[in-house]
Symmetry: C2
Subunit: 365 residues, 2 copies
């Protein structure tokens, strides 16, 4: 049997990723930060958002759509709100910059909320939300994204998979991290089905005419992803509403491009010729838990919440209830110890990247 | 054919509802406010949350679980956060009290966030969120509720239908109001299927053993509602995550009862004998749109967002994309003009209530 994954040590993958960001002109600080966001995705098992995306960022830079040394700045603010212009920087760097502003405001006033424009793909939402959790705050992170999802009743791609993340600190347990695309399934799940030659469940995609489909290649054929819920009967209007919320908070509020105007992540597709804003948008928030009750009380009740939900009566004893964030933490511990499994095609991509950018190839043993 | 609905004038229904709240001991101000929340639900076509609930509140009062003259107060705060103790008051009154605190904080600091404990059912989330919209702010409203929903992989009722609402002001268009239960379907939809003698779609409920079911009576038989998404394959872990977010923000943060400890709305079920907090919890928020960009810019882009989504290419030309909040507004305009259709069984309930409380019966013509 052919080996489809190669295991890479975290430190090697991190060092290589930093080199790539340095090679496109990032500062040492930004290269380390951007690499950390991608490596955390790989560690946490969110493979679609880790180094598998690295060449995508490089292609954007090659097209002149990404500024490796952005002058990020606040363009509008009140004591607890701000809009940040990301100056076409890496979302991986712009989002933590914005979250740190939110945290600073929350330290002083109880909460902080930062909308971001003129950015691009920010990696996993959970990374940014967890920056707030480290300060005993509740973290919010969301972003709009390339239009691939239809509103209920439409056949037009109008929205991205628009993830929303809420992260809550706990006491003895790890934080609860709800980090979810607002579509029924994200593109990564279609790719898994493609690799395995399997159909996908109804309610994930529709054809370009708007008919139900179970073909994992439907999106490539011009179809669309569906909002969480799938169809109207199963609540797709709710998934559409959540996705709209992310789009409005991230892009209408910040002055970024919203809806079908959101710039594509893939460099071979051009941004909309008549933009309605600047770049992609994010929305980050930090809310002090001790703004509502003493932190020890909050954490004790979070622990009680977690332990009660963990022991909710399972349908099948072999499959207990999963607390959001738990599988990602378990993956991270395992991968820190045993290495990060990288798919052969991604590895080829990273080797080509090293060649392109004239840097040392990734150490693979 | 038997007439199943009777049309009642808004003013008559409002006056009757106020009389009921006065009869249980509410102040004039509170009776008017509580009635307004219920009448707005009826006007907006959310019949399950309007005067159909009125006798439910009275039963709670009869059981001593509802305080008609609450001493509501802030028990913890920072410049932009607060926790309110609702003193077992009507959620219909406590939630607007809390939202007004959030709005006041937002006026001064850009945003305001209020968690509420020791409350009960607050009616439609949209009512409270729209209080912020009237001030050109983005409104958030959520509440936990009686446990009827299972987490993914469980057969135990652990969560309420836990609605979340986001409301956004616009310019020439009405506000965008996303007001949704985080379950696949709310109980009201099962009741409609029961009345019509029809099965329900898969993914709404499961049996008490955790098997799929299409029986509209399954919940009454000890089964449970399912989170948005229905099953794991269709994203029920996302619905569970959203519901958990509502539960934690509303109840863990405020010191209310969370998860399976949330007190039931129906008076014939007793609250949990070992509570983990006080009453039910809510979470309200107000975020100044002009904290991020000039309000005219924001409204102009909201209008552009709305008009672009309204004209997204439909699958069927007869069914264009629905902007969240639009059907409720249309219903409201129609019902203000033509009266509010009340189901016969609800009318009987309201007549019995008048008798019980020794007040004038509802005017029905």
């Amino acid at each position: 049997m052919e080996k489809t994954h190669i295991s890479i040590k975290e430190a090697d993958l991190r060092q290589f990723t930093e080199q790539v960001f340095l090679a496109i002109g990032c500062s040492t600080e930004h290269a380390k930060l951007a690499a950390d966001v991608l490596i955390q995705a790989d560690l946490r098992g969110i493979d679609s958002h880790g180094t598998a995306r690295l060449s995508g960022y490089v292609r954007l830079w090659q097209k002149g759509r990404l500024n490796p040394s952005p002058h990020m700045r606040i363009v509008h603010e009140t004591p607890t709100t701000a809009t940040v212009d990301g100056d076409r920087g890496l979302g991986l760097v712009v989002a933590p910059y914005a979250m740190n502003i939110a945290i600073k405001k929350a330290k002083e006033y109880g909460s902080g909320w930062v909308a971001v424009r003129n950015s691009n793909h920010f990696g996993i939402a959970g990374y940014h939300a967890l920056l707030a959790v480290e300060q005993d705050m509740i973290g919010y992170a969301m972003t709009n994204a390339s239009p691939l999802v239809t509103p209920t009743f439409s056949k037009e791609r109008m929205l991205g998979t628009n993830p929303m993340c809420y992260a809550f600190p706990a006491g003895k347990y790890p934080p609860v991290v709800i980090d979810m695309a607002t579509s029924a399934a994200a593109n990564g799940k279609l790719e898994i089905a493609q690799r395995n030659g399997l159909p996908i469940p109804e309610g994930w995609v529709q054809t370009k005419e708007g008919a139900p489909s179970i073909d994992p290649y439907e999106l490539k054929a011009g179809g669309a992803l569906l909002p969480l819920g799938g169809d109207r009967l199963h609540g797709s209007h709710k998934g559409f509403g959540l996705s709209a919320t992310v789009d409005i908070l991230s892009a209408v509020l910040s002055g970024a491009n919203y809806g079908p105007w959101a710039p594509p992540f893939v460099a071979y597709l051009d941004p909309h010729p008549q933009p309605v804003g600047e770049g992609l948008g994010h929305f980050l928030g930090a809310l002090r838990a001790d703004g509502f009750r003493p932190i020890d009380d909050f954490k004790q009740h979070m622990d009680n919440w977690i332990s009660r939900f963990k022991t909710a009566e399972p349908i099948d004893k072999a499959q207990p209830v999963i607390i959001p964030g738990e599988p990602e933490l378990a993956a991270s511990e395992e991968r820190k110890a045993k290495g990060i499994p990288i798919v052969k095609s991604v590895l080829d991509d990273l080797l080509a990247l090293a060649n392109d950018l004239k840097i040392s190839a990734l150490v693979t043993d």
